[in-house]
Every structure is written in C-alpha cells, then in structure tokens.
C-alpha cells in the first residue's frame, strides 16, 4: 500500500486550501443548518427576517465567506474528482475554465442576492 492515502498531491496550495475550507465549512454549514432549520424553521422564512439577519455586517460577512469557501471547495472537489477519473489534456483545460466560469457566475449571483437582502453592502 502507498504511504499516503489522500487522492490529492500532498503539499500543494490547492490541496491545503481544500482542507482549510473543509474545516471552515464543517463549522459554518452546521451553524447554517441549525439556525435555518432548528432555530428558525424553513417554512417560516420571510424576506423581512432574512433581510434583518443580512443587514448585520457580521452575518453578511460570514454568509459571503460561506458562499466563497463552499464554491471553492465544491468546484475544486468536482475538478479533482474528474482528474482522479483520468481527465487530461485539452478536455482538462476546458473543464477547468468552465468550472472557473461557473464559480464566478455563482459568486456574482450569490453576492447580488445577499446585497438585495441587506439593501446594499452593510456598513454597520
């Protein structure tokens, strides 16, 4: 057996980022589920309540960071899974940049949505 059991090349920057974002997401995803399903119930969601949360800079910042890390972790995970299955050459380059483009669209739309709730970037 190999000495290392990870699918990723150890020591790389992306390898480390995948794990750092994983550790962050463990905490924030648990908080997200707990807050929006157990403290507040999903069927009680209103625009006013979502706006009230998002108008707070701390919550807004956490959610934007949540979106950025989740997008990176998910899209990088998909890319690694495909490379792991043997994706190489031009196809690999095309897939890579398609995933980058999809990430940019997701982040743009997510931040637009956060700003719509917050009524712009919350300063205080």
């Amino acid at each position: 057996m190999a000495e290392r059991y990870s699918s990723f090349e150890s020591g790389g920057r992306m390898w480390l980022l995948q794990r750092v974002t994983a550790a962050f997401l463990l905490v924030v995803l648990a908080f997200h589920f707990f807050l929006l399903h157990f403290v507040h119930h999903a069927d009680e969601v209103t625009l006013a309540a979502s706006s009230a949360r998002m108008e707070q800079l701390s919550y807004y910042s956490l959610m934007v960071l949540f979106l950025v890390t989740a997008t990176f972790h998910g899209v990088n995970g998909v890319y690694n899974a495909l490379v792991n299955q043997g994706l190489t050459g031009t196809k690999r380059t095309v897939v890579k940049w398609s995933l980058v483009a999809a990430s940019v669209v997701l982040l743009f739309q997510g931040i637009r949505t956060a700003n719509a709730w917050a009524g712009g970037f919350p300063l205080l």
């Binding site: 990723f8 998910g74 995970g77 792991n84 999809a102």
Partner: protein, 142 residues
C-alpha cells in the same frame, strides 16, 4: 493539484462485493459531494428571488399579494416532496461532514489504523442524526 489513480471502473458493478470500507467511503464521499455542489447552485437560484422581491415584485399566495421571495420559499416548503428532499439533503450533508472529518484526521495522521471503524461510525451517526431530525424537517408539511 490532484493525480489520477487507477481504482478500476466503479461502473463495473460486479466489483461491488469486493469493496472494503475505504472504497465505500470514497464512493459515498464523491456522491455526496456531487449532490452538495449541485444543490448549492440550485439553492442560490431559488434564493435569487430575493432580488426582484427587494425591488417590490409580488405574487399571489394564499389569496393575497406576497413578495416573490417569501411566496416562493413558503410555496416550496408546502410541498411534501421538498420536505423529503430536504431530509435527504441533510443526510448527504451530515455524511459528507462526518466522513470529511475522518479524512482530515487521517490526513493529519490520526486514526488511519481505525479508518474502517470510523467509516462505520460516520454511517451510523448520519443515520441517527437524520432520523432524529425528521420531525423538525417534516413539521407543518401536512
């Protein structure tokens, strides 16, 4: 950067009886990862109804005009299918988180010798958390 490993084709279904705990953990982690990233895109798409809602767009909901964000979310939550899918999403997320913790620990050099046991523990804990959450997720759907 990642590398390509030859694990054989998982599409070669006759091999599944030979899989050990680590292979199942690998397959489940990939599967739950694909579901979660797919859900993230869907989630942002649905939440984007907050953009027209913030500009005053409304829809007819339960006999009165409601902002399109609240109307869309509450309508979706009123469907039993959506509630069941949410329980499935919770199960997928919990497994990915628990197995991900297991992977982080193994990467840090902790628990490699018990990696099969920690996979079974991840499965059992996922089942327990999911079952315990069903009442909360289904409440008000009927």
């Amino acid at each position: 950067m990642s590398q390509s490993y030859n694990r054989g084709l998982i599409e070669d279904f006759s091999r599944w009886r030979e899989f050990e705990a680590g292979m199942w953990a690998w397959i489940f982690h990939k599967f739950t990862g694909w579901v979660l990233i797919g859900y993230l895109f869907t989630h942002i798409a649905v939440l984007s109804t907050a953009i027209p809602a913030a500009d005053g767009a409304t829809m007819m909901f339960q006999g009165s005009q409601t902002d399109v964000f609240t109307g869309t979310i509450v309508s979706l939550e009123g469907l039993l299918l959506v509630r069941i899918l949410e329980v499935g999403l919770l199960a997928v997320a919990v497994f990915h988180m628990l197995n991900g913790t297991r992977l982080l620990l193994v990467d840090l050099g902790v628990g490699l010798e018990a990696q099969d046991k920690s996979f079974y523990a991840s499965l059992i804990l996922t089942g327990a958390i999911t079952v315990a959450s069903v009442p909360t997720f289904i409440a008000g759907a009927f």
